[in-house]
């Protein structure tokens, strides 16, 4: 049982035909999304084709340095997107966010590759999909945490100031705001772990089954990746908060000197 289920050309063409009822329905209900849909489908297809071509070479080279470069590109895009989606000044905060994300990502990714799978970090066929899953799945959590933290600091400024005026140090003053933000980010992950396998069959498992792995191998990887995502989610959000919090502090007197 070790053969991937491949799609034929006619199969791929049939996939695009599935868009027809979607377009017809959206015209019938006048949703005004035909153009957006076509544009999104086209973008997705081209982007994925390019990645497919690119990955073919990356897999051929199987070089640690090329993999590292790929990781840096991934975290740079993730840091930028996270800041933009959290409606934060991306230009100002990018260096700190990029550093925090890269640090936590590399730590968890290499831990994962070396100690869990026991493979080598130059193994692109392992590093890139696992890296993508880890980072991609922590993206939403990062956006939620940052957005919530900065909103809390803005809306409850007086509480933050009260804590400072009563002698709280930096960490003590920020604590309740960080707690609210981190809880908001991690709770959905806990909930989704608890329902996994019953409510939905996760993407990685589906992919492995289609790729010809046995159900047990697929499940082992799925458990590993779930815990990996959970870990990187918490580590990266905490690190992001630590390096970005200073942008919300702005304590006039302390800033000057």
């Amino acid at each position: 049982m070790n053969h991937a289920v491949e799609l034929s050309y006619s199969g791929i063409a049939a996939v695009y035909l599935l868009l027809l009822p979607v377009l017809l329905l959206s015209m019938r209900y006048r949703l005004g999304i035909v153009r957006d849909t076509l544009w999104a489908v086209a973008r997705m297809s081209v982007q994925l084709l390019l990645v497919g071509l690119y990955l073919r070479y990356v897999f051929q080279w199987n070089s640690l340095w090329v993999n590292l470069l790929w990781v840096l590109v991934m975290t740079a895009v993730a840091a930028w997107t996270t800041l933009r989606q959290a409606k934060l000044p991306a230009r100002i905060m990018f260096p700190a966010a990029f550093a925090a994300l890269t640090g936590s990502f590399l730590a968890v990714l290499f831990y994962f590759i070396f100690l869990i799978t026991g493979k080598n970090a130059s193994d692109a066929a392992l590093l890139i999909p696992i890296g993508g899953m880890l980072l991609g799945n922590s993206l939403r959590g990062n956006v939620v945490v940052l957005e919530r933290f900065f909103r809390q600091m803005r809306d409850n400024r007086a509480e933050y100031e009260l804590r400072l005026l009563y002698g709280a140090n930096r960490n003590e003053a920020l604590l309740p705001f960080m707690q609210i933000a981190l809880r908001a980010g991690i709770s959905p992950q806990i909930a989704s772990m608890a329902t996994l396998g019953i409510v939905s069959l996760p993407g990685m498992m589906t992919g492995q089954l289609l790729g010809g792995s046995t159900p047990m191998t697929a499940i082992q990887y799925q458990i590993a990746i779930m815990i990996g995502i959970f870990a990187i989610d918490m580590i990266s959000t905490a690190l992001l908060l630590e390096v970005l919090a200073r942008y919300a502090e702005r304590n006039e007197m302390e800033k000057g000197e």
Partner: protein
């Protein structure tokens, strides 16, 4: 003794006041009046290091306010905002919030000190176990004052603290402040509050001048 000398403050590139000087002796209680948006609140905030100073200086008992002395100076001052901030679920937690910080951990007050302080605020001890969100505005203000007193702070800066209160709660808060042996500077529009204290400064055309006594 609070001494403010030649103070200039600005916000968003607009000068709020300039050349502001005044002194407040220990135990003296003054109100600060003036049109809204003229910089009264910013003056109070500057005095606890929450607003930057463009020029001049602020001195409390001979200690000049700066980044280095900010911590020491803040330990003297109770800052009361119009919207009282409790910062915790229950009234007891709100009252003891400062003692959860490392700096104050050893200062934690005993039960007698707490009940004595509540007594001075004319608040019943049963209030301690209530959720902070259920208190009236006036009760919240008095808890906020009690919190500062438990910390042994002896200077009160108040920013329109009775503006949102009904007559009865307002009078209670005013009564408590009149009886306390503290130095006080309070921004106020409310005539009842103004007339309850002997000294008044008015901020007008960027300047501060004494209008009473």
């Amino acid at each position: 003794m609070i001494r403010v000398e030649n103070l200039t403050l600005s916000a968003a590139n607009r000068i709020l006041c300039s050349g502001v000087s005044f002194e407040l002796g220990n135990g003296e209680k003054a109100v600060l009046t003036g049109a809204s948006g003229c910089g009264k609140s910013s003056l109070l905030r500057a005095m606890v290091g929450l607003h930057g100073i463009d020029a001049g200086g602020i001195e409390i008992d001979g200690v000049e306010l700066s980044a280095a002395t900010l911590g020491v100076i803040r330990q003297r001052i109770v800052f009361l905002a119009q919207e009282p901030v409790m910062g915790a679920e229950s009234v007891r937690e709100a009252l003891l919030l400062p003692f959860t910080f490392k700096l104050n951990a050893r200062l934690s007050p005993g039960p007698e000190k707490i009940s004595e302080t509540l007594d001075r605020m004319e608040l019943p001890e049963t209030i301690l176990d209530q959720p902070a969100s259920r208190l009236s505005g006036g009760e919240k203000q008095r808890i906020a004052i009690a919190r500062g007193l438990l910390m042994g702070r002896d200077i009160v800066f108040a920013d329109e603290i009775t503006a949102a209160l009904d007559g009865d709660s307002r009078d209670k808060v005013i009564g408590v402040l009149q009886r306390l042996p503290v130095t006080m500077l309070a921004v106020a529009h409310d005539p009842a509050f103004r007339n309850a204290f002997p000294v008044e400064y008015r901020m007008e055309n960027l300047l501060l001048r004494k209008v009473r006594p």
